[in-house]
């Protein structure tokens, strides 16, 4: 490791010993690997889901499809059918194909959540860093407003706003983004403050560097990694939040499918033992659990510091 060549030293036999063992690369354990595989799987579904779906998400399947050969029942039930060769994951309350709707819905659910998380980061990191580097007054004002927003139950906040402004996808994304920006703000601010008092930022300040340079060259690169890990966690919360909203009926327009409202609309099937409400719920769970497993694995390597921040 150490390769100093000190011509001036009396002997070169005793090299300066390294301070610490070289940093270990992040190596994922098997739950982490499974997590990555599942996340990649869903990413592919987002890309090609609609093309491989056997039916369209809006298709209400014809009764003829379900006629059992030899039976004289002309109008067999099409709703809440168990998985079969016609409908691989069963049919929903209207007689639509659950599999197709999950494949179509992946794009809606994951897409909305992802964009909302990105938005939350854009807002939260910008304001959080502004708060960390800005004046005491700016920090105080931003923090208090943030505290106030945090104190409002997020579902309630969304509910009031959607009731006020109508249920559209852009609004859903905007609201979710704002709601989750509050916690991103706290993390970005504390990370920013941590870096802000470090010697290398002082060094840049003594050099006379401008604020913009300090933020982009000194602060951002140093908080990027913890923020990236937190992004995963936040993404999970956002998926759950968006699902809860659509479960409460504040979501996308029919016949578009999203996983949360699929659970909601098929809930009556539960008492008949239908798998229709379980399948989308499982889709949500596989994705969120996987992301969490990856994050857990990574943060286990960074000494659980992340867990400490999860509180915010």
């Amino acid at each position: 490791m150490s390769e100093s060549q000190q011509e001036t030293s009396p002997s070169t036999q005793f090299e300066e010993l390294p301070d610490a063992p070289p940093k270990r690369k992040v190596k994922l354990s098997w739950p982490g690997k499974i997590g990555i595989a599942v996340v990649i799987f869903w990413a592919i579904i987002v890309a090609i889901g609609p093309t491989i779906a056997p039916y369209h998400e809006a298709d209400i399947l014809d009764e003829e499809l379900f006629i059992v050969p030899g039976s004289d029942e002309m109008y067999p039930d099409t709703d809440f059918q168990p998985p079969s060769k016609i409908v691989y994951l069963g049919s929903d309350y209207l007689g639509r194909d659950t599999l197709s709707r999950i494949l179509f819905g992946a794009r809606t659910t994951i897409g909305i959540s992802f964009i909302a998380t990105l938005l939350a980061y854009l807002l939260g990191v910008t304001l959080g860093i502004a708060s960390a580097v800005g004046s005491r007054f700016l920090d105080m004002s931003l923090s208090r407003v943030n505290d106030a927003l945090l104190s409002i139950p997020s579902i309630m906040f969304a509910l009031v706003m959607i009731a006020a402004l109508g249920s559209t996808i852009p609004l859903l994304i905007l609201l979710t983004g704002i709601i989750y920006a509050t916690s991103v703000f706290r993390i970005a601010r504390s990370l920013g403050q941590e870096v802000m008092v470090s010697d290398f930022v002082e060094a840049a300040k003594v050099r006379g560097e401008g604020l913009w340079w300090v933020i982009t060259r000194e602060i951002l690169p140093n908080i990027a990694m913890p923020l990236a890990t937190d992004f995963g966690l936040r993404f999970v919360w956002v998926i759950l939040f968006v699902s809860s909203l659509s479960f409460l009926g504040l979501g996308v327009q029919p016949p578009m499918s999203d996983w949360g409202s699929m659970v909601k609309e098929n809930l009556p099937g539960l008492v008949y033992g239908s798998v229709a409400p379980l399948m989308p719920a499982l889709a949500i769970a596989t994705l969120t659990i996987s992301v969490n497993m990856i994050v857990d694995d990574i943060s286990a390597h960074s000494g659980g510091k992340l867990a400490k921040r999860m509180i915010s």
Binding site: H56, A58, D59, G249, P254, P255, L267, Y272
Partner: protein, 525 residues
């Protein structure tokens, strides 16, 4: 069927059990639903009413705006409470005939502008005060006062005054003829309360007295021992609440937490019956439909409306979404539940995608937007089916899902294409004139027809049944071809209850026999 009667008898006498009875009915080719109701009437045969016990009733909607003030009532739970606590001047029977309630009798002048009501003597309010004319006048004046919040204020827009003739006689003067005034007085909002009532709890004359009331939570009621008539009042106590979530409501019944639940969906019937609970399915004129505003695009395009009529797979809607608990609609409100006024001669509009495609192509539209709120049990499903079927013929129907709250103010009668649900009215004429009359308050497709006005007026005066039927047929034909309403289905009024509770009427004007079940039902065992 003689066999059926025999089996009912056997069931009543305990020779066959419930399962055997249903099996026997199946063998006779009787559908499960019918068998269920036959079983119900068999039980009714079996048991004579018994006094005692209490029931918990769970409606479908409640909230902080629940009220005991009759004039503010807007929901089933308010109507139910009103019928439990109060009486009106006039009541409607199961056969839609009108009878005096707190009014012993009434008379009307020739041009229907003056009514005289004889108030029943010996009736007292829950707080002991006797009922007199000034109570009636005070109650009715609340609807016509300036800024009155009454939800049926418009019904009484033509009232000049309510006047006390003597202690037990009231005279009503109208500014314009109104033969339907007695029907309006049967509304739950038009209940009679004690003059200057401040606290509604003791302000009624009805069969049950309110013990406790928490808006959005529940109310409890106990028998009024000084009730002025003998209608049974079998129950000791009644608890009225609501469970908003349909699944939770059903689960509550299945778990035995409540005894009666309103507004079940057709899809829940199978589960309810297989769990040993009873379903009350009353055929009704209640319908769900689609309004195309005739005064604006795209509803003003007849081909578009025609195309949308032809794309309705009505049979499938009734079969699949209503599970048979309803009737196929023919794009006018008057179905078989209206009896003689229903026009059976009118041909049924078919499901014809090809013709629909032809009309839609001709209309020049390839895409329209329809506002949907879950205002009626199967309306959302119907629209989704319509959307899927339109997609097959290359037409894009965009659905804009909006919440029910605020729907009637913000969407209905405003957006060019919207959905609607209408309760059954006591008469075909009342129904038609509210929605399609020339001066109808709620002409929700903005369709105006002079001919319709003439027919409405004449049919009221016509005494010959055949001619009257003919007039009604013409009206129904007009509505189903020219107006902007599309009515794919009429749905039965569906409620479910614990089989121990009996004595429900089949009045199709509201949940559980027109919301007025409190004084009739009883609980066995």
């Amino acid at each position: 069927m003689k066999e059926v009667k025999t089996f009912q008898q056997m069931y009543r006498d305990g020779h066959v059990n419930r399962r055997e009875f249903l099996a026997a009915m199946g063998a006779l080719g009787i559908t499960a639903t019918t068998a269920g109701s036959l079983l119900g009437s068999a039980s009714a045969l079996a048991a004579s009413p018994t006094r005692g016990g209490s029931v918990i009733f769970a409606s479908n909607l409640h909230g902080p705006d629940d009220t005991l003030d009759p004039i503010l009532g807007t929901s089933t739970i308010d109507y139910t409470r009103a019928n439990t606590m109060y009486n009106g001047l006039i009541q409607v029977w199961n056969d839609m005939s009108l009878h005096g309630e707190l009014a012993e009798e009434w008379s009307v002048n020739d041009d229907a502008t003056e009514y005289t009501f004889k108030i029943r003597k010996g009736v007292s309010f829950h707080d002991g005060h006797p009922l007199e004319a000034h109570d009636v006048i005070w109650s009715m004046n609340r609807h016509i006062a300036d800024g009155s919040p009454s939800s049926i204020k418009s019904f009484f827009a033509n009232v000049i005054e309510w006047k006390e003739v003597d202690k037990y006689t009231v005279k009503l003067t109208l500014s314009s003829p109104d033969a339907d005034m007695p029907v309006k007085l049967t509304q739950p909002q038009a209940k009679i309360v004690r003059k200057n009532a401040m606290d509604w709890w003791k302000a009624g004359t009805g069969p049950y007295v309110t013990e406790e009331f928490q808006a959005g939570v529940k109310s409890t009621h106990s028998r009024n021992n000084n009730y002025w008539r003998d209608t049974g009042q079998w129950l000791d106590g009644i608890e009225i609440t609501a469970i908003t979530d349909p699944n939770a409501r059903l689960n509550a019944l299945l778990a035995g937490s409540v005894d009666m639940i309103t507004s079940i969906s057709a899809k829940q019937i199978k589960k309810i019956e297989s769990s040993g609970q009873s379903v009350l399915s009353v055929p009704s004129g209640l319908y769900g439909g689609i309004c195309c505003l005739k005064n604006t695009a795209p509803g003003d395009n007849d081909d578009l409306v025609q195309g949308l009529r032809l794309i309705q797979d009505r049979e499938r809607v009734v079969r699949k979404f209503l599970k048979g608990h309803g009737t196929v609609g023919n794009d006018h409100p008057i179905n078989v539940a209206y009896g003689a006024d229903h026009c059976h001669e009118l041909p049924q509009i078919p499901y014809d995608p090809d013709k629909a495609k032809y009309h839609l192509n001709k209309s020049g539209y390839s895409e329209v937007e329809l506002y949907v709120a879950p205002v009626s049990g199967a309306i959302e499903d119907t629209c989704l089916l319509m959307q899927a079927n339109l997609k097959k013929i290359g037409f894009n129907l965009k659905l804009k899902k909006v919440p029910t709250d605020g729907y009637w103010g913000a969407v209905w009668m405003k957006e060019p294409l919207n959905v609607v649900t209408w309760n059954m009215r006591p008469t075909a004429n009342a129904m038609m004139s509210i929605q399609f009359g020339p001066n109808g308050n709620w002409n929700d497709t903005f369709w105006n027809s002079d001919r319709m006005g003439v027919l409405l007026k004449d049919s009221l005066a016509e005494t010959d049944p055949a001619k009257r039927h003919e007039m009604h047929c013409e009206m129904q034909k007009l509505v189903s071809t020219e107006s902007g309403i599309i009515i794919p289905y009429h749905t039965n009024i569906l409620d479910a209850h614990n089989p121990q509770i009996q004595g429900f009427s089949n009045c199709p004007l509201g949940q559980f026999g027109g919301n007025g079940w409190a004084e009739h039902i009883w609980k066995t065992g």
